[in-house]
Amino acid sequence: MRDAVSTARRSPSIRDILIQAAIWSAVSLVALAFFWLLADLLRHGAQRLDWAFLTALPKNAGRDGGVAPILVSTLLIVAIAMALAAPLGLATAIFLSEFTRVGGRLARWTSLSLDVLAGTPSIVFGLFGSAFFSAFLGLGFSILSGGMTLACMALPILIRATEAGLRMAPGEWRLGAAALGVSRATLLWHVLVPAAAPSLAAGLMLGIGRAMAETAALIFTSGYVDRMPSSLFDSGRALSVHIYDLTMNVSGGDQNAYASALVLIILLIAANSLALWLSDRMFGQRITSS
């Protein structure tokens, strides 16, 4: 008893101090890197970023003018990717969590291939998208084939996150439902999926965010035409492609590249908050906060 008290009161040892210092410096390093990046973006991009920038057409290969068509193309591509990835991802995750055993052969192989896919460089997805959606399905350089490619890229992360969310449901719910004569489908729809909704939203954001920030997947599929798209079959330049083009191919495009990068970051943050808010609002009252 006395020992316990004295241990608790003893001043922290050198080792504790070192470990704490290491943890804190690691944390501050990460935070610093992020804030440095943000500050840099703000410093270079903020004065360009205004309403006019968002609503004007790009001029002079993007050196002047705004990003209106690029913003529209980006939003369309992301919307298509989400609309495709969410139901497919949810269905696959349900299949994995409900109809395969953990450690079973099917589950092992599927998760292995998903992990490999999640780590595949985006250029590979870009090549696949260009060969399959653009060439084989004949969609050419189009917003549709860009969105489909992004969906493929987002799926592995999305499926893994949703599956983990579904598997987290305690076995008592399943047993309780069975004991009440409630079918598995009802349980899934009314209990398990809502409970996994935050994971689905998080997975969607992670997946789409990763894909949206990648240039290589879109250059070959949605292309780099910077005109306002008039349909989903038109080519449309995404923000990431625009930034890449401005920094690499257009001398004097730095200012607008920074401003576009800022737009992209704001878009990502907004999408993130929206997903969290939505999943909270739709399902928050049904599940507890704990």
């Binding site: 719910w173 439902a177 209990v191």
Partner: protein, 284 residues
């Protein structure tokens, strides 16, 4: 004032709606509801219990007692065929409800489980609102009309003495309730389906003594209206609420039913010396 309002008014005086019925038909002329004949259950070939035969009487509380691991939970789960869901679990023998063999592969398991509700040791409300916890199974079993849903929700909650505690927060998460309230909600959820039988697996063991007493009173108040089979490690509780008692014991590495009789006989004049030793607190 509608009829529902009237009875609701009566309820605010603090009585369970089932209370008056306790004084109803006594259990002195037992009528068999569930018959179990030579039932054995194995997990991956290892027997959990063997050769159990007993009758469960309509409207009575039957308590199952015995040490840990003698197959009481397994026995309960074979009655509502929850054991079907456990991989590697094989059941052998006959179980009849109202004379009908429920182990018949063509029997409607969903309907069986509506008729035979089960309460688990750990309260297991769904992560939904209090109201939807009750409505979801009701809708599953075809109750769709709003008025009837409301009526059943209200009655079930009133029956477990929970209505006054939760009537202002029916749409808040059920998981925010206390453990004792959650357990009563689970009982209400089963009662809302108007079952004939309630199987209860140590329903009070995760609760504090006060909440446990409330649930115990509730079970006592169900006597006469429902047929209750309760597994409990609390011998005093079994003695207080049960009409019949069965004593399980591990014999030759598998559980077996040693003695089954009127509750007072088990506790006061057991025929088997193992029973006498167990209820006397000398073993187990």
């Amino acid at each position: 004032m509608t009829q529902a309002d009237e009875s609701r008014g009566a309820d605010t005086h603090g009585a369970y709606t089932l209370k008056p019925l306790v004084a109803g038909p006594p259990c002195c002329e037992p009528k068999k509801l569930i018959g179990v004949e030579k039932l054995s259950l194995r997990y991956n070939g290892v027997p959990a219990f063997e050769d159990v035969s007993l009758d469960i009487y309509r409207g009575c509380v039957t308590a199952l007692i015995g040490p840990s691991g003698c197959g009481k939970t397994s026995f309960l789960s074979s009655i509502n065929r929850l054991s079907d869901l456990i991989p590697g679990c094989e059941v052998e023998g006959r179980i009849t409800v109202d004379g009908e063999n429920i182990r018949n592969p063509r029997a409607d398991v969903q309907a069986l489980r509506r008729r035979i509700g089960m309460i688990f040791q750990k309260p297991n409300p769904f992560p939904l609102s209090i109201r939807r916890n009750l409505e979801m199974p009701l809708k599953e079993h075809g109750v769709k009309i709003r008025a009837e849903l409301d009526e059943r929700v209200w009655r079930a909650l009133a029956d477990v003495g929970l209505w006054d505690e939760v009537k202002d927060r029916l749409d808040t998460p059920a998981l925010a309730l206390s453990g004792g309230q959650q357990q009563r909600l689970c009982i209400a959820r089963a009662l809302a389906l108007r079952p004939d039988v309630l199987l209860m697996d140590e329903p009070c063991s995760a609760l504090d003594p006060l909440a446990s007493a409330v649930v115990e009173d509730l079970i006592a108040s169900l006597r006469g209206r429902y047929t209750v089979v309760i597994v409990t490690h609390n011998l005093a509780q079994a003695r207080r609420i049960a009409n019949y008692a069965g004593f399980f014991w591990v014999k030759e590495r598998a559980g077996a039913l040693i003695e089954f009789d009127h509750c007072h006989r088990i506790f006061e004049a057991p025929r088997h010396e193992l029973t006498a030793a167990y209820v006397g607190g000398r073993r187990g």
